[in-house]
């Protein structure tokens, strides 16, 4: 059993969940999604709870593809996301991230929303969403706001979420002619935090000129970061292997990694350049004339 006593609530709808969270605003409340992050924290005493509010009954576990956008419920597990054929087709970087989180047992419970709200600097769920310009729907009782993925994270384990407020949905625009790729590097393939993770996205006109470039890196700064300078070195230029390699070096220069037990700051910078280059190459290779669903 966990070494602390708390009450468990599982409201049967989103409305009831928001009501419960509103009423318990002054208490030590934690939202339970998949539990793969929260339960170890409760066990270790790193978080203390009077109440756990399980949002598994709030109807947030759907993936819907509309004409121009995908809507991903916060409670969608990485397994569901990774198996979704349309997500794999339209948002390969999202699919690749989902399939590489943790291991099977973890992906079967862990949710995209829980991953984002954990806000650990190395989280694998975020880079693809920043690269794709996703928006997060945040809801509290009687309130709702859309926050760009890029503005959601404030620091390690800190987000813009207010007491009583939860992430309910992720909205991603589907763009023709925008190839994306997610890569991560860790000490092993499964169950290890990323030393670096990268999501790239590129649009190319007539197979040559880069019209848009997006690069996001994780685990190399307090939050996932966009590599704006690197993006600018790409935009308007013709795709060449040299240009992609140069942009990757620029991106590595935009990181501010720490040294810890997983890797030194210097190693993280070097790996960043390699991963960014590969992710850009993958992205360019994936651009094909596609028609929105």
């Amino acid at each position: 059993m966990l070494p602390q006593t708390f009450e468990y609530l599982k409201p049967a709808s989103l409305g009831e969940t928001l009501d419960a969270l509103d009423q318990l605003k002054d208490k030590r409340v934690h939202v339970l999604a998949g539990g793969t992050d929260l339960i170890p924290f409760l066990r270790a005493g790193l978080k203390e709870a009077d109440y756990l509010v399980d949002i598994g009954g709030s109807g947030l576990n759907g993936v819907t593809l509309e004409k121009n956008q995908a809507k991903i419920g916060a409670m969608v597990t990485f397994t569901t996301l990774g198996r979704h054929a349309e997500i794999a087709r339209w948002l390969p970087a999202v699919s690749e991230a989902a399939r590489q989180v943790g291991a099977v047992q973890c992906r079967n419970r862990a949710t995209i929303g829980g991953n984002l709200c954990s806000a650990v600097p190395s989280l694998d769920g975020a880079p693809s969403l920043l690269t794709l310009g996703a928006k997060f729907r945040l809801q509290a009782k009687g309130k709702e706001r859309l926050v760009p993925a890029e503005q959601f994270f404030l620091g390690p384990r800190q987000t813009v979420l207010q007491p009583g407020e939860i992430l309910t949905e992720i909205i991603v625009r589907l763009q023709d002619n925008f190839g994306t790729s997610f890569l991560r590097f860790g000490r092993r393939k499964a169950l290890t935090l990323s030393i670096v993770n990268v999501a790239a996205g590129v649009s190319v006109r007539e197979g040559k000129e880069i019209t848009a470039a997006r690069i996001t890196l994780g685990a190399v700064a307090p939050t996932p970061i966009r590599a704006y300078k690197a993006e600018r070195t790409l935009e308007g230029r013709e795709v060449t292997p040299e240009l992609l390699a140069h942009a990757a070096e620029v991106a590595a220069g935009e990181t501010s990694p720490i040294s810890d037990l997983r890797a030194s700051a210097d190693y993280r910078r070097r790996i960043s350049a390699v991963l960014v280059r590969r992710a850009l190459e993958n992205s360019v290779g994936r651009i094909a004339a596609r028609v929105s669903p």
């Binding site: 009450e7 291991a103 099977v104 079967n108 419970r109 169950l191």
Partner: protein, 167 residues
């Protein structure tokens, strides 16, 4: 405060009084006495406590028992009917895929979830399926081989489709 929940474990219904802080692994081991499910890291890292919830492998050390009301749970004790070993168990014995045996229950269940979804997995698929299960004896090669053998046994044992079913 305890709450009574109903869960189906290995096909048997159980009504259990649980606390919010009770983990599924403890309820399985302590309340039901099914100690085949092991506790290793208790942190979701080792896979020793793997059980299947509605056919999907999960770490039971990271699941609150109170949150799985009504679900179907399979533990290693439910693999065999009590008379004949499950092909996975037989293959683990035949291929000597068990050294100390501590990881075996979790390995078996991760492999079961894989084969139920994918009867003929490739070696990389098997390795990915058991990537969340640590074997500290380092016996992965034989474990992978045993899963391959079990897949063959299961396909061999499968009842052939009646002719003309596809047309």
């Amino acid at each position: 405060m305890k709450k009574t929940i109903t869960i189906n474990v290995n096909g048997k219904r159980h009504a259990l009084a649980v606390d919010a802080k009770d983990l599924l692994v403890d309820v399985i081991r302590e309340n039901l006495g099914l100690t085949g499910t092991k506790k290793g890291c208790e942190d979701g890292e080792c896979g020793a406590c793997t059980v299947l919830i509605d056919g999907e492998a999960v770490n039971s050390c990271l699941v609150l028992a109170i949150s799985v009301e009504g679900e179907d749970i399979l533990t290693v004790e439910g693999l065999s009917d009590g008379l004949t070993l499950h092909p996975l168990q037989q293959a683990f014995i035949d291929d000597a895929a068990v050294q100390c045996g501590f990881c075996a229950p979790g390995m078996l269940l991760s492999a079961k979830a894989l084969l139920d979804n994918k009867p003929n997995p490739s070696e990389p698929e098997i390795r990915e399926a058991i990537a969340g299960n640590l074997c500290r004896c380092g016996g992965y090669v034989k474990i992978v081989k045993a899963v391959q053998q079990a897949a063959e046994m299961l396909q061999h044992a499968a009842v052939p489709q009646p002719a003309g079913r596809d047309s």
